[in-house]
Amino acid sequence: MRFAGTRQYRGLDKDVTVLSSDLVMDTCLLAGAIILKNGGETYRTEETMARIAQAAGMDDVNSSATPTSIILSFRCKGLDHTRMVRTPSRTTNLNKITLVNDVSRRFVSGGITLEQAYLTLCEIDQKKPLYPKWMQHLAAATASGSFAMLAGGTWYDLAPSALAGLTVNLSLEYLEQFVRMKFFTEFSAALLGGLFALLAVTVFPELHISIIIIGAMLPMFPGIAITNSLRDLMAGDLVAGVSRGVEAMLTAISVAVATAIILWFMR
């Protein structure tokens, strides 16, 4: 079955090459869930699902997504289909979003069949992160160290702030398994990173605690939440935009409070 062909028949019920509406639904929801789970924007989730469903010849396609749930409904041969899925856990893996984007583009332009698209999406969903864990921790350390230098540190501040960033990233990953609250995890990780900075300054008094703390808190900067919130707001998705913005703000507040506690120890 090539879908470029089926699209011409849209609206004429009797001649449509019937794609199983269940498969269409599964494919759309899987694509949407992968995008939402891995840190994609809400409007991208809605658009991708609607495009796939329309290209598969469904009528009356309506999709709605919030940062934690997806609803998709369409009409196939006079029958309405609606389903909803929830996406409780969220990570950031932009590679998967790029791959899903690619699959949906190829399906809509008729390059692959629906079955192929579904199988590819399943593969993408099972994929491990592109970079191994140690590489991510190394990247966090590098980012912290170089940002601390950008904020006006000397060469001596490079290593301690990189280590503090590493501490923060390691504790983020480790604490996430026990504490299921994102903001408390971030708070405790920031506290641990700050304690490391405090320790470093106590042992080597010539280091600057300000620079080390600025570097250490960088891995918790809610960059993806801010960017996504803005893009959702611009796309007219107000609910998702505002809720992502609040998420970014809560992260910023928990980091700020942890920093304040560390500074209070310093006094």
Binding site: L94, N95, L150, T227
Partner: protein
């Protein structure tokens, strides 16, 4: 000094790309976006621009650049813009404001916190500016095609 800053912003943006699991072929582009943003950010104060203005302009340029790169590399533009704004983050302002609060200097703390919020707002509005410009250009081209 400028070279050191450029190299550092390049490295930290690329590290953020790795942290966000972007596709391998776009890491270098993300680093370039961060570097260009930092270049603009450190160049504008030489023309007597304020921090807010230079942050806004550099965020807008990062956003525009990431949209253009996303068209050429065929990936969502979030891949670049997230990493590109990292060198602009007002880390030291936020730190100073927390320090003032802890030292019971509330007036100074609120002043610095407002400044931090305004810089964050400048980053946000710069990103929005870039997105809107690209959307308007795309819409105009689409309308032109339809008219033919």
């Amino acid at each position: 000094m400028l070279l050191k800053g450029l190299a550092l912003s390049f490295i930290s943006s690329m590290a953020w790309c790795v942290l966000f699991n972007v596709p391998v072929r776009t890491i270098l582009a993300g680093g370039i976006a961060g570097m260009v943003g930092f270049l603009v950010y450190s160049f504008l104060p030489l023309l007597n621009a304020e921090v807010l203005l230079s942050t806004f302009v550099s965020a807008a340029i990062v956003s525009l650049l990431s949209q253009v790169m996303s068209i050429f590399l065929r990936v969502p533009s979030t891949n670049f813009s997230v990493a590109g704004i990292i060198p602009l983050v007002p880390g030291s302002l936020a730190y100073k404001s927390m320090l003032a609060f802890v030292n019971n200097d509330y007036v100074e703390g609120i002043t610095l916190a407002t400044k931090t919020l305004m810089v964050a707002g400048a980053i946000a509005s710069g990103l929005i500016f870039g997105i809107s410009v690209v959307t308007i250009v795309k819409g105009a081209r689409y309308a032109g095609k339809r008219a033919q």
